[in-house]
Amino acid sequence: MSDFFFEIRSGEIPAQMQKPATLDLKRLLEQKFKDLQLSHGDISCYAGPRRLVAVVRELATEQTVRHEERRGPRTDATKQAIEGFLKSTGCNLDDLEIRETPKGTFYFLTETFPAVATKTILPDVIREVIETLHWPKKMTWSTTTKTWVRPIQGGCALFGEEPLEFTVSMNEDGNPDPILVQFNNITVGHRFMAPSPFAVKSFEDYVQKLHKAFVIVDQEERQKVLKEQLNDLCAQHNLTILDDKGLLDEVTGLVEWPVCLLGDIDASFMSLPPELLRTTMRVHQRYFSVHKKGGAFAPHFIVAANIVAPDDGKTIVIGNERVLKARLSDAAFFYEQDRKKPLAEHGKKLDKTVFHASLGTLAQKQNRLVEIIDLIEKEDEAARQDAKEAARLCKADLMSEMVFEFPELQGIIGFYYAKADGLKETIAQAIYDQYSPKGPSDALPSQKVSRLLALADRLDTLVGFFSVGLKPTGSKDPFALRRAALGTIRFLEEGYDWALDDVLSCVFDLYDGTKKTVQALPKAEVLKELELFFMERLKVYRRDQGYAHDYIEAVLSRGLSEPLSVMKTRLDALVSFVETHEEEAVNLFAGYKRATNILRKEKVTDLKEPLETLFEKEEEKALYKTLFATRKEIQGFLSQGDFTKAMAILAPLRSPIDAFFEHVQVNDERQDIRQNRLNLLGYIQKSLEQVADFSKIEG
């Protein structure tokens, strides 16, 4: 066993592609060595701007003798078929074995492959990696016909301490003048600080020598160093770094040797919105934003350079400050251009801008939002008026130069322009918040007006796209409808007490005359699809919250006709009931299921109220009496929305139900007695179903 290590060097690999490439490389190597029947230990893969690296620990040095069995033609096959098989395998008829199988009598051939030294196979493994590794975008260069993410410049490969020397052709076989990539035991260090080639003896040697040559091979270690530098620099200047994992990952892929430097933002730009400063710095320059200890946006940025400069980076900082000045001056230019007219004026262009080709314009969307807000807020007049006011302006910033330049600032720019126009703070804030929450871990907007607008926008979007058949499929969700549904669910369960189905139906009607009728689906179908979609999202959401799937199912049976906040209360009551009355709950559910199963087996359809006069046994009389009493009581609590109390009453039902099944024979010979007992089972079922569908609960 020896370690197998290789490096493929290329022109700078796009930062975002590096991590996925390491994962794909690992998967590919595992599969390849499995196919080759070569045992090995851990496989680790690394990527940086100029190299993709893999190390396979303890790889078997020899592929042992292998036998592979192949089934040939049937013994009664045509002569040509048999000869064809012999020709393709290079065997004689004597080499074949005749064997009977359930499918007939066949010729079999056992092929024996001799032992092969692993090192002779490894060049082909690397060739295959180069041909099959997945890159989102690949290219040809010079006269190559094979592709890689950027031109390959060379490679390094060792098996144990032995260098593997070979070339990989980047052209098809038979090309007289192919572009060849040379593999050997030579690598190069940092592009500028240590460009001379050097030989390596092992993977450990490679990592150490590269470290001395200003390259950190392992991306996780590179990120660790980067983070430490960011934190140190902040500590020195009494700043805090703004968390940004995405940016951290990207910068890790942009440098081989991170060197963090602090630069200043020109004071004249500090009056621009902090979100704008941050976005400009992040998107265009990959700078980290920093805050002062108190929380205010600090007039500095941190740039991770890729070089230790002799002047401690002074030239680099000056250069970066200059670029940022130009960038921000551009941002300020757009800002001033936009501010020449009020937000409402920008909004006038919305009636010429489509929301979606089949769903009319953004102006029409805004009008619908106003009406949806009327539908969903009946009580708080002040909040409703503010939300409607915000809705009339909410998409106007999409027409600004600023949002055209920085789409990620939608809403935020609207907020600043609305404030500058002298609009109420609550209204401006609602424009800011309309796209929140963006992800499952984002907080909901804190003010009511914002929530109304954000919820209305999601309802409008969901109904719109579903009504023209553009629902998410598989992994494709181009309009982020799953996210919109999740946001809707979170809004609804935190404080709205109306049922979703009616509102969806009204929103559907608001689209009348807007939709392109060609794509439009019938209303009933759309509402059914939406209900299914919401139910599916709801299950995913609850599972993420940690609820068991069977409990989730048990409270879903009322669909969207039940307000989501009520459904949530019911679910919590069910969970706490099982936790506090564990033993009773188990038996109760068993009894319920037994009753349900019998009814299903007997195919009973028209259940009636049981008649007391037909009861014979004490146990059935007792059960009916208890059920009759509790049913009323449960209804009382249910009407008050107190599911915990309603469930608490269920606990004592366990013993009369148990007793009934123990002492009473449902299948009596007398038809009327039998029917009455079935009716009693139905009565059990109905009483319990008021609370939840217990048949869904497992265990």
Binding site: G11, E12, P14, A15, Q16, P49, K137, M139, T140, W141, S142, T143, T144, T145, R150, P151, Q153, R191, F192, M193, L254, Q285, Y287, V303, A305, N306, I307, A309, P310, D311, G313, T315, I316, I318, G319, N320, R322, V323, L324, K325, A326, S329, D330, F333, K352, T353
Partner: protein, 279 residues
């Protein structure tokens, strides 16, 4: 080579790049190209964004293996020292929709400033490039800013003289930026531009029918610039925009296809000629 004498948005549009890199024949050239991008005008107020500027364009087909190193050597030669500056190759997927072109490569950053575009063409005029040309486009003003260490391109020292005779980039171009920004954004006659666009389009098509590819390409360039002016005037809606781009692309592609066709025909006739000589 020399610059081309028609307005264009980038050195890429020079026929020495667009047309000459088509086909299989090796090709290497370099030239300065004045560029005009009407929407980039800032009335002379932005330190490094202007509506008219200069590019130094290098095209090498097929791309050499050591082209990145060659480029870095050229930086050293003009005074950009990679040991003091932070030079970076940042992902860039280039698309030239009006040329039916695309390529992969990098923006080359110097201390956070993009100073050069580095592109391996993958498609040109709608056809795959084989062999692959590599294009290096130096932003001359930006390179000069780094070399001279100035804050704004308008502060660039133009002649190295002192006192009265000192001339800066501002002295030469600032008025130009101010007035052309006003022209591009505010005063260009939309109706006239639209008419000229149609005329250029028509002339290009008719020249192509007559087999005059190079003059037809001039008309395609004119149409492209007229579209850029209309765009800067803000009179083109989102939908119209796509349609304008499509029209310019059709013209440029037509020129590329016919140029390639002509090359192939010449290649064939020279092959048959040499064949007959051999016989």
């Amino acid at each position: 080579m020399q610059p081309y004498d028609i307005e264009m948005g980038a050195g890429t549009f020079h026929p020495a790049t667009t047309l000459r890199t088509l086909g299989t024949k090796p090709w290497r050239t370099a030239y300065v190209q004045p560029c005009r991008r009407p929407t980039d005008g800032r009335y002379g107020d932005n330190p490094n964004r202007v509506q008219s500027y200069y590019q130094f364009q290098v095209i090498v087909k097929p791309s050499p293996d050591d082209i990145q190193e060659l480029m870095l050597e050229s930086f050293k030669a003009i005074g950009i020292d990679p040991a003091i500056h932070d030079i970076r190759f940042v992902e860039d997927n280039w698309e030239g929709p009006t040329l039916g072109a695309s390529g992969l490569g990098w923006e080359v950053w110097c201390d956070g400033q993009e100073v050069l575009q580095f592109t391996y063409f993958q498609q040109l005029g709608g056809a795959d490039c084989a062999p692959v040309p590599v294009e290096l486009t130096y932003g001359l003003e930006r390179c000069a800013c780094v070399v001279q260490g100035v804050e704004s391109l308008f502060d660039l020292d133009w002649n190295g003289a002192e006192g009265d005779r000192k001339i800066t980039y501002r002295d030469i171009f600032h008025q130009n930026e101010r007035e052309f920004s006003a022209f591009n954004f505010d005063y260009a006659d939309v109706e006239k531009l639209e008419g000229e666009f149609k005329a250029a389009e028509k002339q290009c098509q008719s020249l192509l029918e007559k087999g005059c590819v190079l003059p037809a390409y001039d008309q395609a360039l004119k149409a492209s610039h007229l579209f850029n002016l209309l765009d800067a005037r803000g009179v083109i809606s989102v939908l119209e925009r796509a349609s304008y781009i499509g029209r310019v692309r059709d013209l440029a592609r037509g020129c590329c296809e016919q140029y390639l066709q002509q090359q192939e025909n010449t290649a064939h006739s020279s092959v048959s000629k040499s064949a007959s000589v051999g016989a």
